[in-house]
Every structure is written in C-alpha cells, then in structure tokens.
Symmetry: C2
Subunit: 619 residues, 2 copies
Amino acid sequence: MKKRIAFISDHASPLATLGGKDSGGQNVYVAEVAMQLALMGNQIDIYTRCEHPSQEEVVLWKPNIRVIHIAAGPKGILPKEELYGHIQEFTAHTIEFMTANQLRYQLVHAHFWLSGMVAMEIKKQLHIPFVITFHALGAVRRLHQGGSDKFPKIREKIEKDIIWAAERVIAECPNDLKDLIQHYQAPQDKIEIIPCGFNPTDFHPIDRTEAKEKLGLDSAYTYILQLGRMVKRKGIDNVIEAFSHAHHALPELRLLVVGGNLATAEDRAEFDRLHHLCIELKVEDKVIFTGQQSRDLLRYYYAASELFITTPWYEPFGITPLESMACGTPVIGADVGGISFTVRHEDTGLLVAAQQPQQLSAAIVDLINNDRKRLKFSVNSLRHVKSFTWKVVSESIAQLYAQCLPQDAEKETITQIRQSFLGSSKTFEKAAESLALGIARLSSKMVSVLHEGKKIMICGNGGSAAESQHFAAELVGRFEIPQRPGYPVISLNADVAVLTAWANDFGYESVFARQVQALGQPGDMLICLSTSGNSPNILNALKEASKAGVICANLLGKDGGEATQFGDHNLIVPSDHTARIQEVQLHIIHQLCALVEQRMANLSRKNEHFVIHNKLIAS
Amino acid sequence: MKKRIAFISDHASPLATLGGKDSGGQNVYVAEVAMQLALMGNQIDIYTRCEHPSQEEVVLWKPNIRVIHIAAGPKGILPKEELYGHIQEFTAHTIEFMTANQLRYQLVHAHFWLSGMVAMEIKKQLHIPFVITFHALGAVRRLHQGGSDKFPKIREKIEKDIIWAAERVIAECPNDLKDLIQHYQAPQDKIEIIPCGFNPTDFHPIDRTEAKEKLGLDSAYTYILQLGRMVKRKGIDNVIEAFSHAHHALPELRLLVVGGNLATAEDRAEFDRLHHLCIELKVEDKVIFTGQQSRDLLRYYYAASELFITTPWYEPFGITPLESMACGTPVIGADVGGISFTVRHEDTGLLVAAQQPQQLSAAIVDLINNDRKRLKFSVNSLRHVKSFTWKVVSESIAQLYAQCLPQDAEKETITQIRQSFLGSSKTFEKAAESLALGIARLSSKMVSVLHEGKKIMICGNGGSAAESQHFAAELVGRFEIPQRPGYPVISLNADVAVLTAWANDFGYESVFARQVQALGQPGDMLICLSTSGNSPNILNALKEASKAGVICANLLGKDGGEATQFGDHNLIVPSDHTARIQEVQLHIIHQLCALVEQRMANLSRKNEHFVIHNKLIAS
C-alpha cells in the first residue's frame, strides 16, 4: 500500500550540505530513506526548520518528495542545542501547515528527540501514529560528554515520554537497543533494530592507483584514512598518536584526515589542537589535513587508503565504516556503539578499545604488514556490507511502518479507546477536586483504628470484591514501605467456603452481615466498596456494623445510594459509569494505602523515640 | 474561628433594589447571610458583576463586608439568561482580583449555577473549597417552564459538575433535596437542608387598623394579599380568579397585588394581561395593583391583610410566606417547593394545589369566615417562624462551613492527594496515545479466540491477582450487555486450594504453569497481568503456554520485563509507578471487556441472520 508519510527532521534537512558540525549522518539518513521510500511509491514530506530567509516554504526535491520549511525562531542556521527554545513554534507551525493543506498523513517518522516532541503533539492533536529514530540519546551523550552537553536537562525525561508515546522506536544497533532499555526502561518489544545504510552508487570499489591519481596523492606512500566531523569525541587525536607510533615501524605510512570546516571557529580550534599535536609528535609533515571534501570524492579517499580508522569515544551508529567496507577498504574501529555491530572483528576488520593509541598502533602495523589478511577482510567487507544498502534498510523501515498502521476497520475502535482513556482522565481530575478532603479524613480514621489495635474489614461484590481483596493485600502485605508489620485487615469476600456456606443455607443477602457480627468489635472499621450503594448484602453489613459499634466507611459512585445513610465516611466518585467509578476507587484505595503506611510508619518512629526518651529518664 | 469568606453572586448584588424581575430572593439571601456571618466576626467579600460604569470596584458596604464589582461584558444590567456568555470573563477577573490582592479565603460560597462555575474554577486554580446554594435548578425550571427557559442547554450538565465539585450543597427545603437527588443523582450526604430566613426587624406583628391607616387603605374592606415578582410562574392569575369567585360570597373582600416594576416592558405586559383578566372577571374595581413597594412598607401590607396568598407553579423556596407568618398573617400557599415546607397545613395556614382557582377560592372563603381558625394559625405562625430568622439560618451555614474546612494538619495531605489524582490523570492521557492500537488488536484476538470456542486464562500476583479475578468476573458474568452467554474465561489465581497445594508441594514458581499445562489447548489464550513482567511464576506460565500453542498476551508496565519476550501481545502502561500501572491496567481490562462484549454481540447477531438466511434458502 502506498502511503503518505511525514518526516520530521527539525534540524537536519536533506538539502543541507554534509560535513558541517551539525549536518552529518542524520541528514544522509533522512535523505536516503526518503528517496528509497519514494521509489516504492510512497509520498514523503520532510518538515525541517527554515534556515534561510530566501528558502521557499515548499520545495519539490525529488519525485514524491517535498521538503517543507517551517519558520521557527530566527531564519538562520542555529546550533541544535539552541533549537529546544523554538520547538513549540516549530510544532505549532507544522500542525498549522498540515491542517491548512488538509494533509492526511498515515504516519509520522520523527528524527532526533526534538522532532519526537513535534511528533508527540501531532499524535495528540491529529491522531497520526509515529515512529522515531533518535539518532543519538541524551543519556548516552551525557555519560560520554558529561558537562559539555549543552542540551537542556529535561531532554532525557522528554525522550522517555517520546518512547512511551511512539508506536515503535528504531534502534540502529544492538548497543542502541541496550541503551534504550538500560537508561530509559524502554518497552523491549517496541524497539526494532534497523541499521543505517550506505548508497552503492556513491560507494563502491575503485582501483587504488586510480583513486590516488584522482586525488593527486603521491603513489610512493601508503595511506591510512581518518574521515568524519572534526569534533573531540571522534578521537582524531587518538588516531594521530597511534599513527605517530606506527610510523616508526612503517616510514612510508601517511595519515589522511578528511573533514572539518575550517571556516568555523569551533572546527578551526579543534584543527589547531590536532595540528599542534602533530607538531609535538613530530609527524606534522606526514599527516595531511584535507578539510571537508565533497561527497562525490569520498569514495576515492576510501579507495586510496589501505585502511580506514575510526576510534570515537562513542558513536550511536557511524555510517563511515559501511562506506569504507563498500569501497573494499577494511576498517579498524573502536569497539563502541554501532561500530561494534557493523565491523566484524577479525572478519571484516579489527575492533580496538577507544582512546588506546598503543593498541591501535599495533593493529595498524599488524594489518599493514599482512597483505593476505587485508585482502581477506576486503573481500568479506564487500559481502557483509550488502545487507546495509539504504534499499534494504528502507524495506525494513517500510515493513515496520506497516505494523504501526491501524487497519481501516480498527480506526473507529481506536478512536473509541482513546476517548475512553480521556474520559477516565477527566474523571480523575474531577475526583481530585471533590474527594481530597474525604480521603484525608478517612485515612486519618483508618490510622487511628489501626493504632488502637482494632481491625478493618472490607467487602464488595463482583469487581468490587476483587478490589476489596486488592485493598487487603496491600495492607496485610505491603504497599510502598517494605519493612513494616502487616495490619489487621480482612476482606470479607475472600473466603469462598464461608461465602458459599452462608449464601446457600441462609441467603446471599446476609453473607457479609454474618461475618461482621462474628468478627466485628466496637472501634473496628468496615469499608464497603460499591458503585451503586444499594446492594442488599452491603446494606445489611452496614446495619450490622452500626449495631456493633463498628465505624462505617463507603467507597461509592453515582448518587451514593442507600449506603450513604450508614457511612461515617462516604467517598462518592463523581461519575455515573460503573467502570470509571471502579478505576477511581482503585486509585482511592492506593492513596489510602500510601497515607496509612506513611502515618503508621511515622507513629511507630515516634513511639520508638518515646521509648528511648523514657529509658533515658529512667536511667 | 473567624474566617475570610468569598461570596460569589454573579447576578444578585446585595446593593441592588429588590422587586425587579431579576432581583429577588437571592439578593436578600446574600445580603442577610453576609450580615449575620459578619456579625459573628467573619470577613465577607461579595463578588458580583459590575452593572454600572460608575460603580467603584470595591465598596465597603457594612463592617466586615465588602462588595467587589467585577467587570464582565457590558457595564449595564443584563437579564441573567445572558450572563452565561460573560462568565469566563467574570471568572478570570475574579481570580485576578483575588490573586493581585493576595486574598487568602478559607472558603467560597457560590450562589446560583453561574457562580458555581466560578467557584469550580477557583477551586481548581486556588484550591479553595466551596459550598453552593443553587437558589433554583435548571432541571426543575425546565420541567415547569419548558421552552420558555432561555438558559443554555448545558446548564443541567454544569449543575451536575458543580454538585460533584462542591464540598457541600445547601438545599433550601426537602423538595429541593429531592430534586437534587432525582434530577442530578446528587450524593445524598453532600446535601444539607438549610432554609432561607427572614429579618425580624423588618417583619413583625403590627396592629391591623394601624397598618391599614399607614397604607391609606379603606378600613371598611377586608384585604387579602398577593405579593411578589410579576412573572407568570408566580400564578397571580390564579389568585385573581380565585378572588373573583370568593368575592361573591364575601362582597367586602379586596385583593392587594403588590410587586412588578411597571417601567419595564415585561412586567408591563404581565400587568396588562392580569388587568384584562380582572376586567373579564368583572373585579377590576376590587383588585388593587400597587406596583413594587419599598422594603420598609412590606410589613404593613402583610399586617393590613387577613390572609397572604401565594400559589406559584413552583417555588424553590419562597421567602414571602415566612415574612407573612412573621407578621402574624396566615398563609394560603401552593403545595410546591419550599412552601410545602414552611407553611404547615391546618397549623400555620393552608396548602392548596397550584393553578386550581376553585380550590383556592374555597380555602379563602373558609378562612375568612372562621375567625378562630385564623387566630390560631396566626399564633402558631409566630411561634413556628422563629426557627427561620436569618440569624438561626446563618448559624447553620457557619456550622456547615466549619465541616468543609480542612484542618491545618490536613492541608499538606490534601495537596498530596490532589497531586496523585492529577498524576493518574496524566498517565491515562499518555496511555490514550500509546496503547490504543494495541488494545484494539488484543480485543480482536480475544474475540477470535472466543468465537472459535477456545478459552482465555488470566493470572497475576497480589494486586494483579485481584485484577485478574475482576477481569474474569466481567467476562463470565457480564460487563455492559446483560443478556448474553458467559464466555469461557478463568482466573488461574482464584482457586486457593489448587494454588496452596501446588505451591506447598512443588513451589510457588510453577503454580500457574501447572494449570496452563492442565487446562491449555492450542488456540487458547493466556493473559498475564504483571507490573514488572519479571515474576518467575508468570514467566513459567508463559513458557508453558508457548509450548502448548496457547496465545500469550501481557498487560505490563515499566519496561515490560522478560515477559515481553513471550507475548504475542504486550500492552505496556507508560509509567514506572506500580499503583498507577495497576489503575491503567484496570481501565484496559474494562476497555477489553467492552470491546469483546460488543463484538461478540455483533457476531451472534450476524450468526442469527445467517441461520435465518439459510432457513429461508432451505424452505
């Protein structure tokens, strides 16, 4: 089925040049996946932030693909760390555009957490399901970059909300999946591993000599390649240091460092740092910094090199190893993130520890000196990399989309289900206003009953019987405080033998009254759960309790029914709907458990102090 | 304890003149109760709509009482039917005033449903509890006035919300209480009957001759009195018609009709209608229309008359009978609303049917001819009315306030409880987005399992065990469709004998797996409830089910745990909090029950059609 799909890629436009600090893998991913999906016949609109005043709002980029430029904040390029402040505006304008143009998307695919926020709001307002690829995760970034992360602290909380709201989350590799579960407690079955890809038109084997000629590289030397954005976490310093060691054993070795936009201050600073390192290590004439290169030339750099080296501190996925393998150049990569997944150790290349130049240096020397091994890795790489083309990747993504889309027959049901949740949500809001005081007072009364060594009996019918047992289970067992004595609480509907015996011989109307008469002592409490407040066995129990000097409390709904006449405490859920009443009653039960536990714990602490105090006085 | 209390009386200011169409009992009520509460030492601010451009925002009306004029809509008098459109503005400005002046009220007392809307919002935003006196109810008005009610249709729904949100509702009489329960299913124990009152300084016995003189009435005649606003439902026509009959037997009888502002078109029209009626009945020279009279003169009208007559179609309370009795003048009243409560039949006066002029006429003749009875009624009236002074009434109101106010120690708890409800509400909203599709699919699967004659097993531990039984109870019994066969659903944690036998002999880890092995057939379904998804007995049951070809579904929370690996359907509640997860799971259970019931009912209808169709073909 052909679909109309919206990509949200707030900061990474497929139209942006590659290789700048903030344009990298995500731009390629968005562009390539969109192209493959469009080739399958889907219509793709890519929503991205307008970065130039001259950009047209709607650009028809390729057949079936439009790029929609959404105004949000100043119309210039902003670092992605600053985009959070403009995301509400971006969201509002995106939804406006969709609505004004009556665009009925079947699905939204969000890229990066900021776009995930947009997708959540679209889902809430327009009910369009969404899939997310995070590309990078705040918690992981924080672990590796610590204080240097300039994103707002709330990022991780928002990412968690996005995971919950999304239909499915695309993890790019097993490490990504592990991070989602470990740092975000993401529901496992929501996550699907679909890797990034490469484009075989751009990356394929080329004769090494030809490639060197094309780039004007001296054929007398052996080149190894570092390629990627010029930022610290990419570990380019590690590669330079390793090279400086390896160079002693392999004097004909040269290091190509491709990447970095020297027009920007930040890249320039990093370049200066790296250049100084080269001078310090006395390899400044053997390390060739080429700066950022056009995408069309990259395959020549891969092909011209004997090895591709990439040893970042961490790397959510990393497309460059795939590109290198697609050109037949083996990879030595850091055993982190996606690299651990795409590079097969001793099969298509070698995995080394990040930030260990000695280890990397040894690996370089070993491989450069071993032509057979390099050849084997090269052949294996070409075979292995076939499952990572953007075509294969996008087919997996299309399959994932299909799983997320409701069938036409399901749509009405889904609307009904959503309405029902929202109805419940409203009932809880109403209850917050109307029941808070009553719950506070009933919880105090329960505490004083228990504190005086009296017991609490609970009863109900049907669903309320189940909730009555739930209530007793939390109080006899424990709710949130593990190390505490159990409280004397008993559910009168729990004992099937008693219930059936009495119902069969004397009638169901008195099954609870009989137990209240048997067990109830003055000062005990009876809590009745009923949605109507009119069940005969509940009313009989209340009458019996009143006679026996047992305090009566009712959890009710609707108009409270006759039971209200017997209750010293009546908590009436503001709803006419039996199911909604029971749901709020369960919440009340939980609140009562929490309050009773807290207060009983405080009382027992006070008692301990009192005992200690008395002992001190006595001694 | 002295309190700071806000009265909200959107349309009825204590400063307004009495007797106009829209100023009547409520203005008196608000003014008198405020005065009495102020005398007790409370500080009262009365918020009312600004009706004149020259009105000052804050008027110090009496010691301890301020009237706050709130701008909302045009600064002129509006009929109360038009005020609904301005109530949001009134609310916003009221809250602004309270906040800007840092007014910390302990309680809000709202008057009429429009003010109730304001009080609800104040409670939501500022967490101030509120009490409401409705003065009139939409449902009752609709019953009696039908199409002529110009209030918006939503009034009754809003009144119901107000009843739920209010701490307490003041009913003015037993009929009012009955109406609240019958038409609004109001929780009975929330309602307190507190009547309206009268002011003994304004209303007390005066010598009849003296009173007639004061008013310039011819002492040769015997007067009976009709007093009140000049609107149709007051049944003034009924009194005139009865008078025209009675007049035959009592030629010295005259009827005083006090009330009506002849400067307004509506009152003028009603006056014209009544005047025509007098001409038609040939009593135009015996009925004296005095128009609206100043409050200071009213006691003279009561005292000058042998009888006070009031026969409205309905009357929420009706202060005039009290005023009459306070002057020692017996009342003949319609047996409706508050009149049934304040006038004691054959003790302080007579109750007659409304709109029955013959019956009223007979009652008039009977009483006028019976001096002893009138005297007895007069004496009894004076005694009976003592419990209706505004002082007594306001003391009851003050007591009611005290019951609504949280103690200082309770305040923190109440905030905690409210937060907890709102937290739940948010979780339900999140779940609406993340679980709708999954619920739709699981419900379809359950239907196909049941439709193929297979069974569903459910299990859980602790709270989840209770919910598992709740789930089974709804499906074996019925959820919302009463006349249907039970479905083959069984809760595996329900049989205590099986559970304890196996747990004791072989270990608790396999109590569910054993039952799945015993009962499970290929095509059956196992639904596991667990908040963590990691309980060993749940995992063992899932493994056993997978082996036996039983379809597995899980209701989970948090990250879904290991159970997700076995679930053909996993519904993971978007929360980390065990109690919140269980509450949403109960909602999911209810939704599944609703969907399964609906779809099974549709299927069985289709089957019936199919059978009939086949029979038709066969015949």
